[in-house]
Subunit: 193 residues, 2 copies
DNA sequence: CCTTTTTTGTAACACTTGTTATTTTACACG
DNA sequence: CGTGTAAAATAACAAGTGTTACAAAAAAGG
């Protein structure tokens, strides 16, 4: 009875997401998405109420993408935080723009806990693993490890980090062992929410 | 013989810099700078060839601002990296937008060394101080300390870091001592250029 | 006071943006 | 084979951008 849909909202979101992946949210316009999708701007606004709406969708897609990346990341090290750390740093290196969007943008839409695969379960597991290895203050350990991991990830954004995965893994383990030995504890209040 | 200048290029740059300090470079337009400076857009383009030119000036001003901030930062701790670390982290917390512009933006115009007060002198001093305290691999020590410091700074950008200066200082010292004890060394190649 | 010269203000241009009105197109049912 | 209907294309609008042509203003020397 009516014309068949040729540009689905899925296709629009796919296109916008790929662009965001390559160049960030900054220069994504309705016309450029349309051009890349091979259509006019009309199908975009049929699927999404506004560009802001589409950008929200891109953000959600990026969050899901990170969660998949994390879930599928190969287990490289045996010590606590090795998997979380390596996945996080690799994500920053391989998906700079998505990492920026999710973890350093000015208006964070989701907290770290939300982004780490449906809550704090993974984080809790790492903390318990550290405790099992005799860490006197697992909370402080997590705080410090996380700051370090975040630092390496953010450093890769500006091209100031060029260690290989192997070197990174070795460094993370070395840092973890350093922290494990340290008796002094940081304040009880964790900076990571 | 001619009309007296009422809006100097200095005034224009001051205005644009203050705006960048508050909200970043993103939404700075000729008309908004003019409005805030209390003039039309004309004096802006008399002083600067283009908006890009003005933004370059803002960046240079931000770099100088950071160097002053660093130079004048009170000496809070005695251990190596305490001054550099505390100044860097405080700068990130107190001047989020400037920190973003200088240290996490996609197109870094100046390297870290250039930004750290005219070269690597301060960094070298920290490394030598660490060596004097018996650090077996001062280069690796610097790499790890710097990653940690950068991590804390970047974490404060998203509101995920809320330790006080005192707590931060204690944590930095604790981390430094952890690294000092660690015998294992990271790869010889430093990620920080 | 008048003229010259430079600075400033006004207004415009060309372009890009999100968004929407309107026309065209293509499908599926009668 | 029309014909109604939803989708897509076209083209427009309003707002905002950098930038510039041009007119108004102000200072200083004659």
């Amino acid at each position: 009875m009516a014309r068949k849909e040729s540009i689905s909202s899925r296709m629009v979101l796919d296109t916008a997401f790929e662009m965001a992946r390559e160049e960030g949210l900054k220069n994504i316009t309705a016309r450029r998405v349309a051009e890349r999708a091979g259509c006019s701007t009309q199908p975009i606004f049929r699927s999404f109420q506004s560009m802001e709406d589409l950008m929200d969708g891109v953000y959600e897609r990026a969050a899901a993408f990170f969660q998949d990346f994390y879930a599928l990341y190969p287990k490289l090290g045996e010590f606590p935080f090795s998997n979380l750390g390596m996945a996080y740093i690799s994500f920053a290196r391989e998906e700079r723009e998505l990492f920026r969007m999710l973890f350093v943008s000015a208006e964070p839409k989701k907290s770290l806990y939300e982004l780490l695969n449906g809550g704090a379960e993974n984080v809790k597991a790492e903390i318990q693993a550290a405790a099992a290895q005799g860490c006197p203050d697992p909370g402080a350990m997590f705080t410090k490890m996380w700051i370090f991991i975040h630092g390496a990830a953010c450093m890769s954004l500006t091209g100031d980090y060029d260690l290989s995965d192997q070197e990174t893994l070795k460094m993370l383990e070395s840092v973890y062992r350093s922290f494990l030995r340290e008796r002094e504890s940081v304040s009880a209040q964790s900076p990571v929410r």
